[in-house]
Amino acid sequence: LGGNGDDEDETSGEDELADEVNVAIYGGAMGDGISETILDGFEDEYDITVNAETYPDNWDLIAQVQAGSTDLDVLILDDTAVPSAVSDDLVQPIREENVPNLDEIMADFSPYEQAFDPGDEIHYGPFQFFGDGLAYNADVLSEPQSWEDVYTDETEGSVIYTSWIDRVVGIAASHEGLSVSELDQDSDAEMEQIWDRVESMNEYVFEWADTGGILQDSFANEQALAGMLWYGRVAALQDDDVAVEYTIPEEGAPMATSGFSVSADTNRRYTAETFIDYTLDPDTQYEYSSVMGYAPTAEMDEVPELVENSPDYQNRDRLNFWNASLLVENMEEWSLEFQETIGG
């Protein structure tokens, strides 16, 4: 089948750019940031219409794709969701020759190097990374060095974390000085340690929120004096003159990347790849990270000031990736354990 004749539509036009591309992104502030920099930039550069569809999080997106609803070409994913997306055939391999900017990614985050994209083929191109570090109200607390430092009389009932199970286990593990990259699947003792920690954290926690919005609001109106919040949101709160600071404790913290994958049933594969390539372009990343404050994955000589000040960027060595397959395997069990721990 050649590139001529009556088959000359988008499907067979393997190496041709389509007129438009449908991209799934997160909603809210991050969505706005992506939209303003990456999407608009891509549209301008390639004269392709980008249709953005926003999602609350990874799992909603995956559920929708699983159920069959999508005319999406490009999906946004966090690395923790990549293994299940790959094993459920929701995404297809990226043809490396079409995405030369994959090589720009620092080794730390490269899908070639990291366990989150198992197998020989590449399915995912991360464009930012961020830690699940510790945010705190600077009026009340001085900069904590350790996770332990935030548990004071004052913060009892004023700590907030998320209920996402990877974060719950990851942060509790970090408290114990365990790295989520190296959790021992077979060690009951480790897990027991983690659940005991969750239980003791729970005494200070007023809410395990399931949306980032609640995390952010809680810090903004000072209900939360300490807990989890991403650097990008902290930076935004600081703009609103909220006395909130962000740090990575010395025990370390879990980290994640966000990136794009090519949808398994797209018929604009080449365009999708071109888009991903664009997102990985250091210039694009520079632009994006200067707005959002999340650190770029590309190797670059100079990072924006906002990123420069980012504890995520400064303490990259304290951040650990998840052992994603371990996570996927145990999620339901952990989730149940977590609910029972906090619900009793």
Partner: protein
Amino acid sequence: MALVLSLLGGALVIIGAYSVITPVPPQGDVSFTLEHYRRFFGTSYYLSVLWDSLVIAIGTTLLAFLLGYPAAYLLATTDSEHKNLYLLMLILPFWINVVVRTYAWRLILGSGGLVDWVLYDVTGVANESVQLLYSRGAIAIGLVHVFLPFMIIPIYVSLASIDRSGVEAAKNLGANRLVAFTEVTWPQSLPGVAAGVLLVFVMSFGAFVVPSLLGGRANIMIANVIGDMFGQLQEWGLGSAISMVFIVVVLTIVYVFNRWVNLGDVYGMGGDSE
């Protein structure tokens, strides 16, 4: 019409099938299994969430009824010409997205919120900061707020259709206002009460947004568990099984309730209730 019905039937068949096969969604070889149900019934946590949801739904329904009935009564018996406007005013706030409204409740109920401000900062009734969020009570308040019109409107309709001379007859026979109400008005308003109670109960039993925003993780309801199964946890089989159990539980309750107050009445069929 047939399209709509078959849509619903089809949906039920699919969920029913998902609850007894593996893997879900089906890929390659599919085999029959009762594992999903075994997991559900074997886990006391799921059962306790189901039970707690039931309790919250009943509490919400009761609260909505207690708040809604007198208002429906007043609206049904008033001679005000603005009656329709008042009824409309009950519904219009609900055109603000439920998330936005529920967020507003967070600001009212949370510590540092409106209630706290009034009770602690201004009046000093409370001697420490008041935190009403993250409790079953907060869920109930939020749910009542969301579902109140569904309680009020049916009760209003049924009260408005009662012949007022019955109350006068009762008074003439020596009943004071309260007795005339309990003996005459109340029993005749039961069809509307049944409709309202049914709607609010069913909808609050399956509530999703309000518990997750107001109740906190420790107080999630069954729909949140189902949501997790289809979302974060990717356990569609278990999610389908929980859904099937939930549907059966609701339908059983609805059925028992209907035996008690004749469903025909709910639809205004009137007639042979005993």
